[in-house]
Amino acid sequence: MWGDLNGSIIPRHAKPKGWDGRAPTRWAERGVSRRSFLRFCAVMTATLALPDRYMPKVAAALERVKRPALVWLEFQDCAGCTESFLRASRPSVGDIALDILSVNYHETLMAPSGKAAEKSLMDTVRQEKGKYLAIVEGSIPTKDGGIYCTIGGRTALDIATEVCGNAAATITVGACAFYGGWPAARPNPTGAVGVQEAVPGITLINLPGCPPNAVNITATIVHFLTFGALPATDQQGRPLFAYGSRIHDTCERRAHFDAGQFVEEWGDEAHRKGWCLYKLGCKGPETFHNCPVVRWNDGTSWPVGGGHGCIGCAERHFWDEMTPFYRRLPTVPGAGVQTTADKIGAWVVGGTAVAFATHGLISTIRAKVRPLDKELETKEEAR
């Protein structure tokens, strides 16, 4: 998606319609060229599924913005969401996002420790009340008075209530802050829950994923800075631009599914050819995320592109409901080409699901007549 800067799709002296051509001093100082900056704006506009005429608006907003404060809270987390965000591509999504914001608290990044760190957090909460953004990573334990996660002697629940309750908006990143993540997986030893459940009634948006994609985190922040509001969400509070379409519907291997071409075992001929991973447990048919489009590692690839099935990490309770990960989904709702998470929730799993699940079975029978499978069978017999 980002590609090489020299191969930019944006002309060297690009001046989008409506752009007043101000000097990009702020970004230049940070070593971000005009071209990189505009490219970043173009990617953000595209990720947010906005028409390209919004790009100047996004660029203008990012130039003008008066560095709003951001606090990043970590509770029962592995810091994987932080890593995902910081190891983003160039022009570093992390760099630009961190430069648009005044990051006043982030335990993994900040220099102060102990009392000084607590002061940074509480100063922001008091002085920027109702104006700062709060990002939460990790689940919140509720069992035994919340003692399973404390920072500076305060429980995670206590901190979240105060910090998220006074924020302009809270963005949860990752599966843990969304619904509890793996700490909430059976038997949920610490009574872990997500922010929505722990601190009800706050302005909140969920960016699940294990980890979530840095491009989506940044795009959400950019949307907030450009329009002064959080993007539109589904019933679970996930932005539609990132969680509005099913992995299965945008998957590059979808044609193989439709053609009944499945990988039967790891490393077989079909696997080498990049066929569909449904039979090896891919959860793409039940997962709503934009991974196939935005991809990972500077947009180079994504799990299914790399040859492993989707584990469904953007969905609630996937650690319990999508496991065992290598077992084929027994009943998959979905008959149409396009669907949304809200629709799936409303569907009655009936004949269509059975038809979908048996599709794999029938294809095995059909595949018997394919030359490739003939070849494989011969090999099998020879073994």
């Binding site: 335990e107 102990g114 760190a117 996660c149 997986a185 059976r186 496991t323 990960f325």
Partner: protein
Amino acid sequence: MPKIAIDPITRIEGHLRIEAQVDGGRVAEAWSSSTMFRGMELVLKGRDPRDAWLFAQRI
């Protein structure tokens, strides 16, 4: 003897608290505590072993 506590310790992954007893400018005794528990071992019990790596890499 004065006792100091540093919590949170920053620039690490995870949560850590250090307490130290200072005696004449020297640390006489010190305690460290991890202030976060999730129970990975309890969650992994009884699951398909092929799933273990997916859980454990998120410790």
